[in-house]
């Protein structure tokens, strides 16, 4: 009963302050838009730091937690930072603003989901082709995104790792396998083989036991 009362109070508050909620959403979406358009990862990260800051109002935090686009942008942020660390193509390199970025994220969700769904081969092939063009980090972010039901995670990682091995993208294959939970001895052995191959090919060693 207490919880219901709190929910009702929240709804009343949202109704009475609707314009302020909308203004706050617009303010932050504009900030995101600017940082995305300029591919400025530092300023993009700073927006989340600002929201998490204790000086940010409770209402702003509540707004952030009630708008799923913000969750998804945070998920994208995690992937971008990993991609940046690994010095690979960033997920947002070919987008010019927040709408395009979220659209690309949604496309990626759909393609990942198709792997687990019982759809005709045509659509699964389209999914595999698309997913070769993006990094394992965005796939990992999507799977960990609480707002997304993407599919069976181990199946997805394994399917994409297999795809990468077949197309000689051993680094991405290794990364996908590293995301697997409860790795079998076969998987560990495969990772070790991939690590040896990668280490012999490049100056950037890959640790076999991620």
């Amino acid at each position: 009963m207490v919880e219901l009362q709190k929910i009702l109070e929240l709804y009343e508050h949202m109704e009475k302050n609707k314009q302020r909620y909308l203004d706050t959403i617009e303010k932050y979406m504009n900030k995101f838009d600017q940082s995305i358009a300029s591919h400025d990862l530092k300023s993009f990260n700073n927006i989340f730091i600002e929201i998490a800051n204790t000086s940010t109002t409770k209402e702003t935090k509540r707004i952030f937690n009630s708008y799923s686009s913000f969750f998804r942008l945070e998920s994208i942020k995690n992937a971008l930072n990993n991609e940046n660390t690994e010095k690979i193509n960033l997920f947002w390199n070919d987008v010019n603003g927040v709408k395009e970025l979220l659209k690309k994220y949604n496309i990626t969700i759909f393609m990942i989901r198709r792997l687990s769904c019982n759809l005709p081969d045509l659509y699964k092939k389209e999914a595999h082709t698309y997913l070769r063009s993006i990094s394992p980090y965005i796939v990992n972010s999507i799977i960990n995104d609480l707002t997304v039901k993407a599919g069976n995670e181990n199946y997805i990682y394994f399917a994409l790792a297999t795809d990468c091995i077949e197309s000689n993208n051993y680094r991405n294959a290794f990364i996908y396998l590293s995301f697997l939970k409860n790795k079998t001895d076969e998987v560990k052995s495969l990772m070790s083989t991939l690590a040896k191959t990668l280490n012999s090919e490049s100056n950037k060693p890959v640790h076999p036991e991620i």
Partner: protein, 223 residues
């Protein structure tokens, strides 16, 4: 009325979602002798007006009103709907998730609900499409969630009072009950649909329409 036709009616503002939704629809098994039609409404000013426009545009007996971000996973979906409607002529509408009773605050997700939609955990097992082998075991409910609402009879949506994007589902459930029809939610071993609405929803207008709903249907709600 064409009693051998299903019509999907979808209000849409996003081609990407719509196209993905249609991929899943195109992969459904169609009962023998039946056909399907799809009506998409762009630029609707409200869900009720969009659905009324779709309803008036189709002579199909069976109409499936659904969100563009709903993906029908169960390939036997249409066959199951038919079996449920045919097992009891008093059934007017079928949903995927619904509440047998509403509280006086009219908040559907704060009360007991039947039915299910796909969750992250559901993906841990391989998905299998299922034939509803006991259509008579469906749960009778008072209201269903608007993500998907399948009907076998046309009753106008209340666009006169629900002129936004909230409570059109609860309202239509009450309208069906007022006309003497039952609303049911099938037993689902695995969820028949996936709803890609994200966890956090925009509820800025929810309370406004909640009050309108309570005022209109107060005699049918608990004190």
């Amino acid at each position: 009325m064409n009693d051998k036709e299903f019509c999907f009616i979808i209000c849409t503002n996003d081609e990407l979602f719509l196209n993905e939704c249609l991929i899943f629809i195109s992969d459904l098994y169609i009962p023998e002798g039946f056909s399907i039609d799809i009506i998409t409404i762009k630029g609707a000013v409200s869900m009720t007006s969009g659905y009324n426009e779709g309803m008036r545009s189709s002579k199909a007996k069976y109409k499936i009103y659904m969100h563009q971000d709903v993906f029908i996973l169960n390939k036997y979906f249409l066959i199951n709907l038919l079996n449920i409607f045919n097992c009891n002529p008093s059934i007017g509408m079928i949903g995927m998730i619904g509440a047998p009773e509403l509280n006086k605050e009219a908040i559907m997700w704060s009360v007991l609900r039947f039915g299910c939609i796909m969750t992250k955990a559901d993906f841990n097992l391989p998905y299998e499409s299922e034939l509803c082998d006991n259509p008579g075991s469906s749960f009778v409910v008072k209201v269903i969630d608007g993500l998907l609402m399948a009907t076998c009879v046309d009753i106008p949506w209340r666009e006169d009072i629900f002129d936004g994007w909230d409570f059109y589902d609860c309202s239509q459930s009450m309208e069906f009950a007022r006309k003497g029809y039952k609303i049911v939610v099938p037993e689902q071993k695995s969820p028949w649909v996936l709803h890609d609405d994200g966890v956090a929803l925009s509820l800025l207008n929810y309370n406004h329409y909640r009050k309108i709903f309570i005022e209109e249907y107060k005699k049918e709600l608990p004190d």
